[in-house]
Symmetry: C2
């Protein structure tokens, strides 16, 4: 478990300041839901950081008593990109003392497939993870934590599925893995390993691009057990 308290002042929390007077007297926190939403577009892993005044910040919302947690995370995604995420899991809950009062930050990881119109390359929303703009310290930590989890899960899961279209070539799969890991992978080793892992199946179709030799199309095997890698949501949380 972590050690050492770090002061993480948020630069601007207009809503929190409004309730700061009550918070200071209360033994109850404000509950802040934040979503780290990833996509792979233009060969890069990107994270959604919508503009908020002069800053860019993680998509977020304040949880109210009668709101379900997972639903609120989905709503935040919808408000950010205009449609539902493909995959979301709860990441971690942090308890922080801010100047404005006590805040619980409940973070989510969300994954979406780049749309065919290339909307995920929009440079005013999607930032490459290796060239992040300035964000508050806690947002940067949440992003780094989400990235750590995503990369770790790549090793033993089919989570990359949620960043790809339903069928893909091995080259597209490799490009997605490389974008997530941030480093090139040896083509022969990569193909040997993903075939050996047994989570791919050939569709029988081919993809032809330009004058290249047509490439076989694959899909992830639906039978691969999601429970081994998901952080499943609970049925109490509608």
């Amino acid at each position: 478990m972590g050690h050492g308290r770090v002061s993480l002042r948020e630069e601007r929390r207009p809503r929190a300041q409004a309730v700061a007077r009550d918070q200071a007297l209360s033994a109850s926190p404000e509950v802040d839901v934040r979503v780290v939403l990833f996509t792979v577009a233009g060969g890069q892993l990107r994270v959604a950081l919508p503009r908020d005044g002069d800053d860019v910040r993680l998509p977020r919302g304040t949880l109210l008593p009668n709101q379900a947690l997972d639903s609120e995370a989905r709503r935040i995604v919808r408000d950010t990109i205009g449609f539902e995420e493909q995959y979301a899991e709860q990441l971690y809950t942090l308890s922080l003392q801010e100047p404005s009062g006590w805040v619980l930050i409940i973070s989510y990881l969300g994954l979406i497939t780049d749309s065919s119109d290339g909307a995920s390359s929009r440079s005013d929303l999607w930032y490459p993870v290796d060239r992040l703009p300035k964000v508050v310290a806690i947002d940067r930590m949440v992003i780094e934590y989400a990235l750590l989890r995503l990369r770790a899960k790549l090793g033993y899961t089919t989570i990359a599925f949620h960043l790809l279209r339903p069928t893909f070539t091995l080259s597209e799969l490799q490009a997605t893995y490389q974008a997530i890991l941030g480093r090139p992978l040896d083509k022969r080793n990569f193909r040997r390993r993903v075939v050996a892992a047994g989570f791919l199946e050939a569709t029988g179709d081919q993809h032809r691009e330009g004058s290249h030799r047509p490439a076989l199309l694959y899909r992830f095997r639906a039978a691969h057990d999601r429970e081994t890698y998901l952080t499943p949501a609970w049925s109490t949380d509608a």
Copy 2:
């Protein structure tokens, strides 16, 4: 993500009732930390359920504004069993509407090794997971969720390490896996798989019990990357 709201009334929440009047008017929840603490003793996976009046309940605590989340989880473990857990990770945060008001439940998974004095067999604290006593619905869900995560992690991690002593025979390792999974494993397949997984190393020592042929002692390789399976804590949360 989950669907369908389920009403989960807690039968007794004395402290919560005391603050219910404020809660009802407030947009801030009470924050409840609960720890699912597992051990393997007497060949069974057991969970700690301390007595609380007429009930048994998950070890818990109410988080206060100036308390760090992970520290509070550790304190709950210490108060329950008298010493620190070997391993703890945050599991999940639930938002619930109780009759007493809004409650956030932040659950942790904790693992300890059975002590040499057999304290983990104490039947007034440690209950086999396949013969749980009556607990409130939300505690049962949290336990089932923790069990699901623990079993899933067994497939791709060395998490079982935290339920074993530093060195162990392959028979002891298999017994621990069987206790966690709740089913017998084929001895030859099990040995082949754990050796192939590459996370064991022979200590060079042997363990002799009675008139049996001495068994080789193993340890988990320290080099095995914890980041691939831990839900790491954050350094902000002291």
